[in-house]
């Protein structure tokens, strides 16, 4: 009983919101002067996963119940149960995707995307599965260029398995350690010190999702994972198209896309201001591009 009480108290403390005032927002546009870097910019492609990931909708019991011991306990139990269910449901899909090389797709996507951006010609392109803070810091130490553009890809299924999502997170980090934090080389990767941070998301949906995640998992996994393979490839391709657009954005573009004359909408489980909507395809802006379309 004491252990349970301790656990609940622990979870409540951990769930308590931390002050965000100390976390400065990184730059989300690459201004003209910052496009060229003295000393060159290398590109590091990161895919910190070995297989397609699952996701869950985090429990909100703790919020509904106003926090507290019981809420914390129930919330943790519900999250664990949802994760277990999702990890079980995803197994047939992972089996069907055996041999599917998403790492190669990530490299190809990067190459295609950067070819569209004249100022973003890398001095060197590397690949790693280590997206940890220390890993990236070590990569900065080893770089011969003055800056690294980390392009980290992730791909997963939505909590209800109705869509497959591909996300590219772009961060520009300088090799030089800020003088104020010379003893902490990882500070190069803190939001306030990043030269740029943005992301692009592609959501590829099942044309007619089933009633639950097991039904949807079966649809993705059928025929050797044919639909899932197509969706992941399509997702990477769409992200590859969004990346040059993202890198080219100016502050004025973002202001225009965020303006109130752009209708708000929800697509693929995400909300944002609708930029394009043609049939089943929707492009949202929610601080970053989110493209939603059915698998083809």
């Amino acid at each position: 009983m004491k252990a349970l009480l301790n656990l609940g108290l622990c979870l409540v403390l951990v769930a308590a919101p931390l002050g965000s005032a100390a976390i400065a927002a990184p730059k989300n546009v690459v201004e003209e002067p910052a496009r060229t870097v003295a000393g060159g910019r290398a590109v590091q492609v990161l895919v910190a996963q070995a297989e397609i990931k699952s996701d869950i909708n985090p429990s909100n019991i703790a919020v509904i119940s106003g926090g507290g011991l019981l809420g914390g306990l129930l919330s943790a139990a519900q999250n664990a149960s949802r994760t277990k269910k999702a990890e079980t449901a995803i197994e047939p899909l992972r089996t069907a995707l055996t041999g599917f090389d998403a790492d190669a797709l990530a490299l190809e996507t990067t190459k295609t995307a950067l070819a569209e951006t004249a100022w973003m010609q890398p001095a060197a392109t590397g690949f790693s599965k280590d997206s940890s803070l220390l890993g990236k810091s070590t990569q900065l130490d080893a770089a011969t260029a003055a800056q690294i553009a980390f392009i980290e890809y992730s791909y997963d299924v939505s909590p209800d398995f109705s869509s497959i999502r591909v996300v590219a997170k772009v961060e520009f980090a300088n090799k030089a350690v800020p003088a104020a934090s010379a003893a902490k080389p990882e500070s190069r990767l803190s939001p306030k010190n990043l030269a740029y941070a943005q992301s692009a998301t592609s959501i590829i949906t099942l044309p007619t999702p089933g009633a639950d995640l097991d039904a949807n998992a079966a649809m993705w996994a059928a025929d050797g994972g044919k639909a899932a393979r197509a969706a992941i490839a399509q997702g990477f391709a769409e992200v590859g198209k969004l990346l040059p657009r993202t890198l080219a954005l100016t502050a004025e573009d973002i202001k225009t896309m965020s303006a109130k004359d752009k209708k708000k909408g929800v697509a693929g489980g995400f909300s944002g201001r609708i930029q394009e909507s043609t049939g089943a395809q929707t492009l949202l802006w929610s601080g970053a591009f989110i493209d939603v379309r059915p698998v083809s």
């Binding site: 656990l7 992972r94 089996t95 890993g135």
Partner: protein, 200 residues
Amino acid sequence: MRLVSLRSLGRGCALLLLAQLAAHAPASAKRTQAQLTATFKDRAYPAGTPKTEPGCTIRFASLVDERRSPEMAGVIGKRGVLAPADSQAWLRAVLGGLEARGIRPAFEAAPAAGPATPTASLMLQTAWIASTVVTYSANVVLRLQASAPAGAPIDRMYRGRVSRTAYWSGGVDTLQSAMDGAFADALDAMAADLKPLCGA
């Protein structure tokens, strides 16, 4: 009140809190990676479970690590999980778990193991630990090719998975234990397939 004293939170909770703080403050994030070792500790079986003596020997002619980035075995939050540097030793340790499942793995050259000994090749395709909200999952994929002088050859993938709730910590021991559990799952199915080769 005694129950809400800081001491009563326990070491695990303190670690979890620190991890949470680190996640919000990258500059102060953990500066160490979690290093897995080239060992294998099988799951604990309930007391009284009869021990299975190895009924036959399978000679593993090759152990191949096919992972693209063999140095990595996961990323949890902002912390990397490093795989054992010696993947051969790691795979041998894992295959040692076959003994408890009735199969004795041999890694020496053919004559010592005997000419009629079934032979196999093992490929490690995946060994990765990922985290979600409050849980982490270890997943492994092994490919086995095996044959005996008589009997149907095997060419199959074996998957293993363990999901754990990370209430108290993501310490190296718990990560290692999760990875071991995933390998144990895969070994269960592998041993069941290998046993018929023994009688061939």
